[in-house]
Amino acid sequence: MSLLLDMLSAACLLAGSFLCITGGIGLIRMPDFFARVHAAGVTETLATPLLLFGLMLQMDWSLDLLKVVMIMIFVLATNPTATHATAKAALHGGLKPLVSEDDPNDTGEPSSKP
C-alpha cells in the first residue's frame, strides 16, 4: 500500500515537474505576449496541482494536509482572475494580439463591434 502511494506520488511529482518545464519552454517559444500567457497557464493550472497532490500523498492525515488542499484551491481560484487582469491590462496599454493570417474567423477590430 505504502509502495503504491509512493509510486503514485512520484508519478504526480514527475508529471508536475515535466509540465513546469513545458511551461518554461512554451514561454520562450511562443511568438507574442498573449500566446505566452497561455504557456504560463500550464504551470499554474495543472503542474502546481499535480505537484501539490504528489506532496499530499507523502503526508500523514493532519492539519497540514488540509492546508495544502487550501493552497491548491486558492491557486486555482486566483489564477484565472490574475491572468484575465494581466491580459486586459496589456490590451488597455495598446498591445494588439498577434493573429495568424490564415484564420477565417479573425475579426481584427472586435472591441468596436456593438
Binding site: 513545458t22 512554451g26 504557456a39 495543472l46 484565472p80 482572475t81 463591434k113
Partner: protein, 155 residues
C-alpha cells in the same frame, strides 16, 4: 442568515489554519471573524447586487467536469509546445454568450481562462472577447457545452 454562514465559515477556517485551542488565540480568532463580517456588511451596502455562491452538489459536479477539461487542454497545449513546428494559430475573436447574471458571467469567463489555450480578455453585455491559441479551442467554446453546464447551475 448570510452573515451567520460567513461567520461559521470564517471561524472554521481560523481553527483549521491555527490548530491551537488556547483562550488567547481563539479570542483573537473571534475578533477577526467579527471584523471581517463587519467589512462584508459594509461591502454589501456599497455593492448593490451582491452575488452569493453557496457550494452545492451541482457546483462540485461542475468543478470535476471543469478539472477534466483543464487536464485535456493542458495535454493538448503541452503537445503543441513540444511539437517541432509549434502548431498554433493564435486568434482573437468574439464569443456570443447567453449567460446573463454577473455570477454566471464571472464563472464562465474564469472557466474559459482557467483552461489553457483559451483566455477571456473582455466581458461585454452579450459577448466575450476570447484569445485562443488554436481554432479548435474557439470551436469547442462555440459548441457551448461549458455554457450549457453553467446555465444549468442556475446561479
Amino acid at each position: 442568515m448570510h452573515y451567520l454562514v460567513v461567520s461559521i465559515f470564517l471561524a472554521v477556517f481560523w481553527v483549521l489554519l491555527s490548530g491551537y485551542f488556547t483562550g488567547l488565540l481563539l479570542g483573537l480568532g473571534a475578533l477577526s471573524v467579527l471584523l471581517v463580517v463587519w467589512f462584508v456588511r459594509r461591502m454589501d451596502q456599497t455593492d448593490k447586487e451582491p452575488g452569493r455562491l453557496y457550494p452545492g452538489p451541482a457546483l462540485f459536479g461542475y468543478w470535476f467536469w471543469l478539472l477534466w477539461c483543464v487536464v485535456k487542454s493542458n495535454i493538448d497545449l503541452a503537445r503543441r509546445i513540444w511539437h517541432p513546428r509549434l502548431p498554433i494559430q493564435p486568434c482573437w475573436c468574439r464569443l456570443d454568450t447567453r449567460v446573463e447574471t454577473p455570477l454566471e458571467k464571472t464563472l464562465y469567463a474564469n472557466s474559459i481562462t482557467l483552461t489553457p489555450g483559451t483566455l477571456t480578455t473582455d466581458i461585454k453585455e452579450d459577448h466575450f472577447m476570447i484569445h485562443a491559441l488554436s481554432q479548435e479551442g474557439v470551436e469547442e467554446l462555440r459548441e457551448g457545452e461549458m455554457e450549457r453546464r453553467i446555465l444549468r447551475l442556475k446561479v
